[in-house]
């Protein structure tokens, strides 16, 4: 009997051991190979993205590696205190911590990790972040193996270089650079404690987005350091009150960088961009990007407060291009940046409305010999479209205004006149003209094209309008200036090519009309917003107020702003008023330009030779007798020879025999 029980016990114990051994063999069967030097597995040259001024703005795919003696001892102690108090004693797993975590998880419903630094290293090296029961055991086995293969110092060094700190910061060196603009060896106790605290929850404890939570966590880490005897009371108290000086240039992605990555991926492939250690030099102006992001967010919030509630977030986009170089300086594709999110600044899916009119008027001047002083008649007009359907365009105010000069029609954004011009030009010519302006979006060859029934991206709009500021010269928008490989070899570089696409004199006549839009037309809100530098632009409002646009130029920058909902939905204020480009988008443009143009001289646009400025009656096109009622227009030199070009129209009377000719003109 005695021996029966004893042998049962022995048999049971043996069975248990066998089961454990079997489980161990089964789990260890597919464990990963661990190299003899962890550094080679961790270190990778990151792909670096630089702004136009040469500052590093974003890194991806890489991992810096610094030896332990180049990591502040404060950080080494802080990370041990924060993550694994028994690190220097255990052999990969902390059984007490595990039991405590198990108890709290099962009985108290609290989530608490019991992973040691070695286990975390194992997880970060070889496992996914999906929580799986068996993965935990494998992590433990790998941790034991790591402890057998490497010294504690080597493990701590690898951990410090591999761990994630949020954003694009992998490893303590990167984190120190990104958060404090210094190297890991220079971290103070307070900074080290803050960084060590972030590891627990990089998103929720990010000091830029959650400063309070980060400080609380820092205090906890300092307390643990004191409790473990790593620091004394006085040092602890000093560190608690130590002022932290954060980097003024937090490295984070934005829509511009996302677009850069898209372009680079198309050119070099995804692996090369994310793991190739490239150096990508871009045209990004970080300050303008920040201004654009801020002004779009502020402008949309202000507008949204006035809008009828729809339950959908109001969205917007801005594209900013340098006039002299064609370089894209800023790109904001959404109200709040989401990594890899939909970039509205480059998407060609929203109708531009009257924003298209500068192109149509340019074509009319060039092909039909009109100029801003030519008289047209705004009256009820009906057209037969290509499909034989009748089309009767209406003006914004649902009224017809009779005869007027072209500039007046442009300033008031009269749809009927644009439709008449489009009809005479033909859809094919309108499409060809848009192509000359560099618009690559699909363009339907239909008559309503004259009123902007075509989806064009803000980026293309800004690029197209910038041609006017260059008196007809087209520059393809440039994002990537140069791409170098890890050895410094130039793999790609952008060359800026100017191409004369428009006739300078005609281009300037349209530009002058666009100036009028801001001074006295539908874009007056630009001036009312306090932006006073020389500028030209055009509002755009799509049918039923679903999109509000403003695209404008100065001699230094071109910018296009779009505002609307992601779903095609009307923009109406609480008072029932439709939101136009002048009301919704122009103030955002103006507020952005007000701040952006502080860095640039407020220069006048250069008028090409062969043009003159005269004052005419906006209804008859005749020389204005009363300057108060006149409208200044820029016309070719040979238009009404002898007419004074300064503001003295009363002194000029056309010779009697020229009147019939003038009427014809």
């Amino acid at each position: 009997m005695k021996s029966k029980i004893f042998y049962s016990f022995v048999a049971g114990a043996s069975l248990l051991l066998l089961t454990l051994y079997g489980g161990f063999l089964w789990l260890s069967a597919d464990l990963p190979y661990i190299p003899s030097d962890l550094r080679h597995l961790i270190y990778a040259q990151p792909t670096e993205i630089y702004a136009d001024d040469g500052t590093l703005v974003y890194t991806l795919g890489g991992q810096r590696y610094v030896p332990l003696n180049k990591i502040s001892p404060y950080f080494q102690k802080a990370v041990v205190a924060a993550e694994d108090g028994h690190f220097w004693r255990h052999h990969g797993i902390d059984k007490l911590a595990m039991l405590r975590a198990f108890y709290r998880t099962v009985f108290l419903g609290q989530t608490q990790g019991g992973s040691t630094i070695t286990q975390q290293l194992a997880k970060n090296l070889f496992f996914t972040f999906k929580k799986r029961f068996l993965r935990k055991f494998k992590e433990m086995l790998v941790a034991m193996q790591l402890e057998s293969m490497f010294t504690k110092e080597q493990i701590l060094e690898a951990y410090c270089n591999l761990i994630y700190f949020g954003g694009t910061a992998y490893g303590v060196e990167d984190a120190a650079q990104q958060f404090f603009d210094k190297s890991a060896s220079e971290l103070t106790l307070a900074e080290a404690a803050l960084l060590a605290g972030i590891i627990n929850s990089p998103q929720a404890l990010n000091p830029f987005s959650h400063p309070e939570a980060a400080r609380r966590r820092q205090a906890l880490v300092l307390q643990r350091m004191k409790r473990r005897g790593f620091i004394d009371e006085a040092t602890y108290a000093a560190a608690l009150t130590d002022t932290l000086v954060f980097s003024q240039r937090p490295r984070r992605s934005n829509d511009f960088i996302d677009h850069i990555l898209t372009l680079a991926t198309k050119r070099f492939g995804e692996e090369a961009v994310f793991f190739g250690g490239l150096k990508i030099y871009t045209t990004l102006d970080s300050d303008l990007q920040r201004l654009a992001e801020e002004e779009l967010a502020v402008g949309l919030a202000r507008l949204e407060a006035e809008l009828d509630s729809t339950g959908m977030p109001l969205q917007g986009a801005i594209a900013v291009i340098s006039i002299p170089t064609g370089e894209v300086k800023a790109l904001v594709g959404s109200r709040k940046y989401l990594p890899g999110g939909f970039n509205r600044a480059v998407s060609q899916n929203r109708h531009v409305g009257s924003g298209i009119k500068p192109f149509i008027y340019y074509a009319a001047f060039e092909k039909m010999g009109l100029n801003p002083a030519s008289v047209v008649v705004d009256s009820a007009s009906m057209f037969y479209t290509e499909t034989g359907k009748r089309w009767m365009p209406r003006n914004f105010d649902r009224r017809y205004h009779g005869p007027m000069i072209i500039k007046s029609a442009f300033l008031q954004s009269i749809n009927v006149i644009a439709a008449q011009l489009g009809y005479q030009l033909t859809p094919r010519v309108m499409k060809e003209t848009l192509r000359r302006f560099g618009i690559e979006a699909p363009i339907p060859e239909v008559l309503p094209l004259a009123l902007g029934t075509v989806g064009i991206s803000p980026l293309e709009m800004a690029a197209a309008y910038s041609i006017f500021a260059r008196n007809g010269e087209y520059l393809r928008p440039v994002f990537l200036k140069r791409v170098e490989d890890i050895g410094g070899m130039v793999l790609d570089r952008a060359f800026i090519f100017g191409e004369e696409r428009l006739q300078p004199a005609i281009s300037y006549q349209v530009l002058d009309m666009m100036r009028g839009v801001i001074e006295q037309g539908t874009g007056r809100s630009v001036r009312l917003s306090g932006f006073l530098a020389p500028a030209a632009g055009k509002t755009g409002t799509s049918t039923e107020f679903t999109d509000a646009w403003f695209t404008g130029i100065t001699t230094s920058l071109a910018a296009s702003v779009w505002v609307g909902y992601d779903r095609i939905y009307r923009l109406y204020t609480k008072t029932g008023r439709g939101v136009t480009g002048g009301y919704g988008a122009a103030p955002i443009w103006a507020n952005f330009m007000k701040r952006a143009m502080k860095r640039y001289p407020a220069r006048e646009f250069r008028m090409p030779d062969g043009l003159k400025r005269i004052m005419v009656d906006p209804r008859t096109g005749w020389p204005a007798v009363d300057p108060a009622e006149g409208m200044t227009v820029v016309v070719p030199d040979n238009f009404w020879p002898g007419l004074p070009t300064d503001a003295a129209p009363r002194q000029w009377l056309p010779p009697a025999d020229s009147l019939p000719q003038l009427r014809n003109q």
Partner: protein
Amino acid sequence: MSNPKNLTAYRTWNRKYWMLALALLIALTGLEARTYFVEKALGQYLAWQNPGREKVGRQWQVEQKRLLAGTRLEKISKELRSREKQLASIPNFLELIRRVLQENQLVIPAQHFIRLYHTLPFFLKEHVIAPDSLIALRLQDRLDNVILNREADGVEMVLIDAQSRIENILYLSNELLDVFFKHGQSEVVDVTSDPRFAGRVFRFELFWQNLSQLPKGMQNNFLQAMPDLLTLAGPTAKVAISNKISENLVEVAVAPDNFRAVIYYLPEDWIINFVSTLEYPWMQNEEQDIL
């Protein structure tokens, strides 16, 4: 079991063995707590097994992608290096233009462009870009690359700086390119009957006599510009000046016989200088020499 003695003995035995087992367990636990022998043993075993394992897991996948990236970038840079090598092997300016006409666009480093520029005859260089302009650009470090684009009416040359900004745009018209390609080339032509040379065909002897009357520097210019002049010299040789002027360059033919000639293009002012050496009325007086 009914025997109390046996029961007591069993209990004693039982307690003893269970106590032993418990003590063993406590001892092992204590030992483990102090020495971590289980983890160490398992760790050693796993480390021993390590060489046979596969490179799987997150960081190995990243490593795999790095290798792929490296391969891809190596391929791209290999292509670029081979292209650079091809460009570097272009021996002269004419070959460069030929390549542009074939490939529509070429980008060459400024150093190489200048080397090729110097392969042009000295009097043709001006027609590409004045040497002093080129020197000024180099001195001010404003020339980094030259982009050559084939256009319908010739070749566009864009000089750009290190920031990829345009410093200058030059055009070589098709007419000028024609001059470049024909200069120094042999052509099947009878200069005595070709209308473009009518009235301006000299016996070589007369041409040489008049050339000798020019200042030494100008003579040298002619000799440098027409290197075949001396090899083609002979009693039947003729020199003919065409009425065709392209880009201020006058076509001059040196013909060893009536079947072929080597064509040169010389600056108009040289020809004017040369013509001024002929005695008036040279056409009548030298009728026997001027064919």
